[in-house]
């Protein structure tokens, strides 16, 4: 699998990553070689095996009762935010 510049630009857009002009050729090369490397998997005979999403077979994800457990930490959490006002997170205008 060889990727080109357009592929990299499309993937970067899907991943919401702005790439510098100088980065693009590097990623064209390295992502192409990674895909060639993992392409080896195609040859593995996996028959009817089920895909493995969790390393401990038979352990189901636990559910917890839907109860309020957290207390309000808004001020504390917002102390890490880049821009807040009146307890709200600020972002550029989305709706005109």
């Amino acid at each position: 699998m060889t990727l080109n510049r357009t592929d990299i630009e499309k993937i970067a857009k899907l991943a919401r990553l702005e790439l510098a002009e100088s980065e693009i050729p590097r990623y064209v090369g390295s992502l192409s070689s990674i895909l060639a490397f993992v392409g080896e998997l195609e040859r593995a005979d996996t028959g009817n095996l089920l895909p493995m999403a969790h390393p401990l077979a038979g352990l189901a994800q636990r559910l917890r009762p839907d109860e309020v457990r957290e207390t309000d930490h808004r001020a504390e959490y917002q102390s890490n935010a880049p821009q807040v006002e009146a307890g709200l997170y600020l972002v550029p205008r989305v709706i005109e």
């Binding site: 970067a12 790439l19 490397f37 993992v38 996996t46 089920l50 493995m52 390393p55 890490n80 989305v94």
Partner: protein
Amino acid sequence: MALQTLTDMAAALRAREFSSVELVTESLARIERSQPALNAFVTVTRDRALADAAEADRQIAAGKTGPLLGVPIAHKDIFCTEGVLTSCGSRMLSNFVSPYDATLVTKLKAAGAVMVGKANMDEFAMGSSNETSFYGPVRNPWDRERVPGGSSGGSAAAVAARLVLGATATDTGGSIRQPAALCGVTGLKPTYGRVSRYGMIAFASSLDQGGMITVSAEDAALMLGCMAGFDPLDSTSVERPVPDYLAGLERGGTARPLAGLRIGLLKEFFDKGLDPELEALIRDALGMYERLGATLREVSLPSLPLSVPTYYVVAPAECSSNLARFDGVRYGHRAANPRDLLDLYQRSRGEGFGSEVKRRIMTGTYVLSAGYYDAYYLKAQKVRQLIAQDFARAFEQVDVLMGPTTPTTAFALGAKTADPITMYLNDIYTIGANLAGLPALSIPCGFAQGLPVGLQAIGSHFDEARLLNLAHVYQRETDWHLRTPPEWPV
């Protein structure tokens, strides 16, 4: 420091031969002296460490006890620590002061441990050489022109240089065992789900597991006992009692303490690519195991050579999803003067992440995208099943699998940064255990050209006690783990 291990240190504190303030002061001084040479730390929490040490001394004076009461340790900077910078080695989080403690941090605090700082690491734990850190590379204490391994390179270098005698670490594809091997220290990756992932910044959630780097297996047993256990805050944490790992260590004087232990030699690990000098040291160590009573037999896991390509689909896929949360809105790096919301996302992420993290996010985005999901991601999950089944079959015949931890000793800084595949292949022997969720450790077993070599043991699920005991028995017979690098600056 005459105290060689955490176990020695805890005993000396209990006997009041040293105070916690003395030990913490010494640790802080060593960190400070080492920092220009090794760069093992991102943050040193001096004031808080001294205050906590003074409190530990008051508790000791009042007759209180705790397995690690007053003992200085370091946390890998992937673990959230309340009120302290938690950077994960990234520019993205270079302004993030965590509002809470990871469960593992809470548990070690409850055991009495005193945090002296946050250890440097590869950015978001993605790397095998500690060269991807936003805070600069860590250097190997045995040879400062060489890498310490990664991603827990700061933790491994800190213990190797005896800045602290124990540090937390994480292992997604070898990030505890590989740096432990390259730095000549002991590292244990527990079974997936054994140690809570709450507050441990996620890289690949079906593979990530917290553990530790220490001088000895006995110290690893001591720390694991404090760290392991069910946590309702981690939905994949396993509800299962924690055995007394220290009580499981052989204390008697029998000549063949490992009689009956069946060791499988992983054929695929000795096939090719392994440095012959390392192979000779590994075979010497296996000879020692035979003398200690174990039996050896070769075991083949035919799908094991597929573990690196499997990992480089599964891990980037999970990483691209986990790292989607860094959007420049609620915390972390934000680009200046965004034109609109999309620009805010793209530039904040483009500036905040380093090149290896971006590479993995894009690889993951690609293998999960429409048209490629089945061919890459689903296929890799099936091969993962194949690898897990190979391990399960092997454990029907043997109790533990052994082989090298790494194909070579520590390599030169910059030697493998140009080609990502060359770098990824460093983890060729460690990734299998992560894919199957198995516990595995690395212990020092000698030196090649003056550089440490690690012996790896992989156990079946939740068999940490057996792994720790067989490492402990080996360490009673050898002193590789007690060797220390030359002091710096020299």
